[in-house]
Symmetry: C2
Subunit: 610 residues, 2 copies
């Protein structure tokens, strides 16, 4: 058989698997698998080099299925390559089976979860950047859908890839003309896609996505111009089964058993080709080995300092100790102070410009290859990447995010710049740790704790300078809390974090002057919360707690504490309850009820000591 014939046969097998799997599961997206079958055959059984025995071999070409709903054909390709047992395909979408409806890294070959469209290309940018950083000759392939090209994140990624001149990155767009509910905007106007990718700085090839020979020619030419390459493949959704080919209404719909039978008759019997024989092994390449942990010496702060500045100092210090650490910025590094890392380690620093989705997506890609990305922007703008953050969670991604400029304490720039819902983004994510330091020393310790924790960590930093509260060498483990003031006759506990810690201390002093003792707890580990510590602290302080935070009412520290203390204490919650506005930091904290004066009032009300 010729190479073309072999690959055509393999594509046929992938088609048959995809149809059978989805019919058996009773759900799924077979037609989008059929349009991609020839592309997948060419990629997995001719172009890509990978070691089937080791999904984390640095020599492997990497693959990202950005159009995640085509998961069945991905599982089929892995099975044909000898990576998954063929019989596992029977259990697609079953609750005990790791072959999920959309790809997740429960299968180790899947480096990041996909299924929220338009995210795969940014992940590809991150993986390709990681390969280059590791001096690996391996390449990254991203299979995209045409519908997802409407997502802005695709163009953020395209921009970024061209800017980084990632010639080791190849995107293939499966242009099958049909979206979920409608034909796509450009349907089969391949030139419309070509214009866009060219304008964004890519090398562009257009092929018939069902002509193996043409696909191979295009794949043979990728990266030659020193640019990222896109292959625009004109395909037919449902290709190979006449009664579903190019028909609207067949997006997320498996064939019924009798339809499957008819389809299989059309396609013909399962070809006998032994696909696994055609998987190409990579040339050996030894990637970098990174230390698991790192420590660094604290900066010698003498006076009040913004925690965001301490974040920057710590990141630069960490960079020296930890070669896996990389930084990604969204053109605010002079505000988050990530610029200190950028200056010290330019080759490990990535400017994503004002493109937060790509910033996080690229970070996921870097993390997938073993780097430890610290990704920082204003906390408010992490809302822009909420979907990427969510998918990072489903990817078990080891990214570290820092949101600076949280809360009304940023002052005059006004509400659009205030991070007031960031805790409610990160708290729901199972397994994500959240650290919210109140002074410069704790901020540095939190950076160290984040780096040494396996999994997603979010660090919340403050714009204005805050007084030093802790000694330089204090440790801030994830899951802990600190008791800052304590007596054996505390009338209530004040639970604060970040910028409200100094306010709580001021309130404590003012209350002491009036003969009211309060316990002050710094809940710097917002998640996991030190539940025992909080229960104990509040239990010893009259079972009364005032929680004070620079965040909207829902989803933050106050609700976390209310939940922990349910049935064991009464909570009064000081937080931002209205849409804030421009003003000076202190004025705003006063106006919106989170200043020391409000804490004093709340404690007195709670204790009935008015």
């Amino acid at each position: 058989m010729t190479k073309t014939e072999i690959l055509e046969q393999i594509a046929g097998k992938l088609r048959i698997h995809s149809l059978k799997m989805t019919t058996r599961a009773g759900s799924g997206h077979p037609t989008t698998c059929l349009s991609a079958a020839d592309l997948m055959a060419c990629l997995f059984f001719n172009e890509m080099r990978y070691n089937v025995n080791d999904p984390v071999d640095w020599a492997n070409d990497e693959f990202v299925l950005s159009k995640g709903h085509a998961a069945p054909i991905l599982w089929a390709a892995y099975a044909e390559a000898g990576i998954l047992p063929l019989e596992s395909l029977r259990d697609l979408r079953e609750i005990g089976c790791d072959l999920e409806g959309h790809p997740t890294p429960r299968i180790k070959w899947v480096k990041t979860a996909t299924g929220s469209l338009g995210q795969g290309l940014s992940v590809g940018v991150g993986i390709a950047a990681a390969q280059r950083l590791a001096k690996s000759p391996a390449r990254t392939f991203v299979l995209m859908g045409d519908g997802e090209c409407a997502e802005g994140s695709v163009w953020e990624a395209a921009n970024s890839a061209a800017n980084l001149k990632l010639k080791n990155l190849c995107a293939i767009v499966d242009i099958n003309r049909l979206g979920q509910s409608d034909p796509t905007m450009h349907q089969h106007d391949i030139k419309a896609y070509a214009r866009k990718f060219r304008a964004f700085g890519w090398d562009v090839f257009a092929v018939d996505g069902h002509r193996i020979d043409k696909i191979l020619v295009a794949l043979g030419a990728i990266g030659k111009k020193g640019l990222p390459t896109v292959i625009l493949a004109r395909t037919i959704k449902g290709k190979g089964v006449s009664f579903i080919e190019d028909k609207n209404g067949w997006h997320g719909r498996p064939l019924k058993p009798e339809e499957l039978e008819k389809a299989l008759q059309e396609i013909g019997p399962m070809p006998h080709v032994e696909s696994w024989k055609y998987v190409r092994k990579p040339r050996a390449f030894k990637g970098p080995k990174f230390p698991a942990k790192a420590t660094f010496a604290r900066t010698a702060y003498k006076d009040k300092t913004a925690t965001r500045l301490a974040y920057g100092n710590a990141l630069a210090a960490l960079g020296k100790a930890h070669p896996a650490v990389v930084a990604v910025d969204g053109d605010v590094k002079n505000s988050t102070y990530a610029d200190k890392f950028f200056e010290a380690f330019p080759e490990r620093s990535f400017q994503s410009y004002i493109a937060e989705q790509n910033m996080v997506g690229m970070g996921m890609g870097l993390a997938a290859k073993g780097f430890v990305p610290f990704i920082a922007t204003f906390a408010a703008f992490l809302t822009r990447a909420h979907d990427q953050v969510r998918m990072a969670a489903y990817s078990f991604s080891n990214i570290k995010l820092c949101g600076s400029h949280v809360g009304v304490s940023i002052g005059e720039d006004g509400p659009s710049q205030m991070g007031l819902e960031d805790l409610s983004i990160f708290r729901p994510i199972p397994g994500c740790a959240i650290l919210y330091p109140s002074d410069a020393f704790s901020a540095e310790a939190c950076v160290e704790a984040a780096a040494n924790h396996r999994g997603m960590v979010y660090i919340r930093t403050t714009r204005p300078a805050t007084p030093l509260v802790y000694p330089p060498d204090e440790a801030f483990p994830i899951g802990g809390s600190k008791v800052l003031r304590k007596s054996d006759h505390d009338a209530a506990a004040v639970i604060a974090a970040g910028v409200t810690v100094p306010e709580a201390l001021k309130a404590c002093d003012a209350l002491a002057d009036e003969g009211i003792a309060v316990r002050v707890i710094d809940a710097y580990s917002v998640k996991p919360l030190d539940e025992d510590g909080i229960r104990r602290g509040v239990g010893e302080a009259g079972r009364l707690a005032v929680v004070v935070e620079d965040h909207f009412e829902a989803g933050g520290l106050g609700e976390a504490v209310a939940q922990v203390l349910s049935g064991e204490g009464r909570v009064k919650h000081l937080c931002i309850r209205e849409l804030p506005r421009s003003g000076k930091a202190g004025e705003l904290m006063e106006m919106f009820g989170i200043s020391a004066a409000h804490i004093v009032k709340a404690v007195k009300e709670l204790c009935g000591r008015m």
Copy 2:
């Protein structure tokens, strides 16, 4: 004076105002105002037609300052136009002043808040679409920064505008070469921008942004090709003040008083031109008048029905009764069932394809003109538009959002498609109502309540069919709850919403068989929560509550109830605590602990009746 000389003088005034305002405020972004001054003069005092006495006159050309950090020059233009008192400029960024650091609709001429970059163009798409829908001859102008063109949302909007052939939309990009922390990716490569906008289907002009005569020529040619137009203006950041012109490091930095003095000497004295005389009045145009409220007859459901289907039916029925209602889709209308509205009212329906940011941004624009947009996608994918949702809140926007396919109950498609953090997006937003119906009748009632509520509303719908619980004519006011089961010896209350309501009822029956009576409360109004009703209900049921929801632990109904009941009851919270996976809906609800069986167990544990 020639027109050019007049506009040059006005630009000079705008520059002087911007410099003085920011120096007085001690913060702000003067250099980005200086680069935009000549463009602003041409727009506000020659090209745009608007009635200075009425910000909501349908005849007005509309303006969106997408680069919101240039707010000072916007306030200066309004002051020079006679809309704001000149002396109000002195109070920029003061806490009592509506001239905020970034534009918000506290000033009525501002239709949506900006300051999170890259959002203005989508808003412009929505406004221009609204103008066309109302058959208005007015146009929409969006002033953008070059840095924000890295945001994918810009390209979603560009795509959408071209697809809708919005020839009444004009974007002006102030290409001043410098971002916040670095030069922009393309710096002064105007052709790079031209290639992109052309590829995205726009008519493109390039001008020197400091040559009034050239700007006017370009503005005179907009819309001629039946396409949206972009004017790419090459400008100098800090233009007019030699020592800050084109210099990095001057992004968010006002001049010190002594620097200001030097700058004003360079610019020369305040010109004497009476700018307001040059504002052009529009030709009268009477826009549509919309009813404030609408009702519609419920569909006659007989059997279990998905709430998402009822949403679609209700939306189509509402559309007949309420001419202001429009729908926006992200290529999932056959899943959210918004397609029922699309079929009935194609002219009031907008396909944003798979571009959720533009979907919400466009909705904000439509709402800004008085339409009532219903915007629907999978709840999971609203994370993609979280930043737009946030900015809609700061815009006091009257948008209605529907998130379908919430929770693990979607089943086999897996975690990427499950809305498990949507409540934690919408609950923090002050003033946003959240409705979560459990059956088809309540879903229809919720759509009606949402339409008749002034302000943002989020409706959460479920994928699988759920049994009918309520009579067809039951009302579901925002802020209410329903007691579904009640006795005078309830051992505990079960608080549920949406898909967990039938589970709670099943649990109630099972517990009754064992002699344990429980109260069942449907907290369909997740926000505002019926706090009194919940307190009363739980108070009468042993001060014990089980809250059960198909949502992650943080930010949802459970924490809301815990906060309300703080000190007044004990809460056991059943929710999704781990990363879920593919499987059948019922299996997943069982595995992740929110089924009837788990409710039974939780009630028994809580009551000590094991």
